[in-house]
Subunit: 136 residues, 4 copies
């Protein structure tokens, strides 16, 4: 039988307001159910990220390609880690902005590391790593 | 000044154990801080997903291409929504498994819808949508 | 000094008419200059294709994804040769037609072989292999 | 009935030697047959390139990403013509060299123009445009 533990959480009130709207919008029975769902989702990601075995992953970035040296820096980082970066796809969103997504495979901690480097590069507006299974 | 609200949460005990390990591993001060962080991250994604203005997004999937009709079904769904799907990139992970990532742009709710259709297709082992800004 | 050899060529008259228009349109001085130019271009491709050392290449295909089993067959061929096919990119041209381009690397003769297999698959409307240098 | 026209061609002798080896290697009956075959192939490409209706195309390039400003220039050209460039895929061949392939669609003459601009950029080692049908 499933055992349940009850504990207290302190949250910024303004954030809690936004979260309550999210809980309602998504149709969760209550806050606990919503928190359970997103924790479960987070742990899966996090546990994949700790795996020692080979994983696959995608790194999504949006950036302004006109920013001085930005494209060069991002390309350099990828070339240094070309054993991890299989290929990348680039979409020209508008005159200034690019959507770039990298397909990667390798040890999870290594992919995490290159993702952090890329996403933290000054000028990258948004970046996100998805670690996934290689399907085995 | 930041106001804080305290409330109770009920969680499956086994999940809470795993979560506590995650909290420790990531170096959060306590459960509340960790929950605050992941809720914040989740809301950003969720609020982008509700945007009426144009967004960009990537959909990452892993699947076994030998599964009967699976590739056909996934290709059909993408063609029906080719106004949203700019292009896709495909990596052959091994004899059986594919990593596919789609670059999409359009109304957030529309991208959410096609992502759900693709990810829920029988045979898709893991799928994940990232909604991001077009950079404006 | 450059030596020149003169020889006779027999060509289908209708094809020669079209070729003469091409020669004029492209601004070549005469037929010989045009033939020299395209032979030179062809030999470069052909000599790259004979290389024993590693080359890079792209395979461009247009096909109707609704054709029974076609997507499956093309995906199977690629998976069997996944040591050569780095990744592929897919654009949904319209409801029926796909543009797919594969990035490949490996021995030239092996890439030639998989290109022939793919391009000759029934239902592929047009296919073309470009062999290029890896830049060394 | 097929009519045949005979005419004389002057070719650099060294190039003709290489061409004769090509003719033999490919198993053509004679020089005329080989020239007919490559002219036919060239005209198809060339006639597609003159089409006023929409075509699809891929542009394949190999370049050294470390060359000052090169990646910036190539990215700029693509952004200026983002109505033609659907997306691009990038493979890191080694520490220095990149294979990039662009999927394009639009008027053939426009695609030809951007291909020429990209391929002629100083530092691009090899570039090639393939114009193909959109499948209609």
């Amino acid at each position: 039988m499933e055992r349940v533990t009850r504990f207290g959480v302190s949250l910024d009130s303004e954030l809690l307001d936004r979260f309550d709207k999210f809980v309602k919008r998504k149709g969760y029975a209550n806050r606990s159910k919503a928190i359970e769902s997103i924790i479960r989702d987070y742990l899966i990601q996090s546990e994949w990220e700790m795996e020692e075995k080979e994983v696959a992953g995608t790194i999504t970035m949006v950036y302004n390609h006109e920013k001085t040296d930005l494209v060069d820096i991002l390309t350099d980082i990828q070339h240094q880690h070309r054993d991890l970066v299989v290929s990348s796809m680039h979409v020209h969103l508008d005159e200034h902005n690019c959507l770039e997504v990298l397909a990667t495979r390798g040890k999870s901690s290594d992919i995490r590391e290159i993702a952090d480097k890329l996403i933290c590069t000054k000028g990258v507006k948004h970046g996100k790593l998805i670690i996934t299974t290689t399907g085995h």
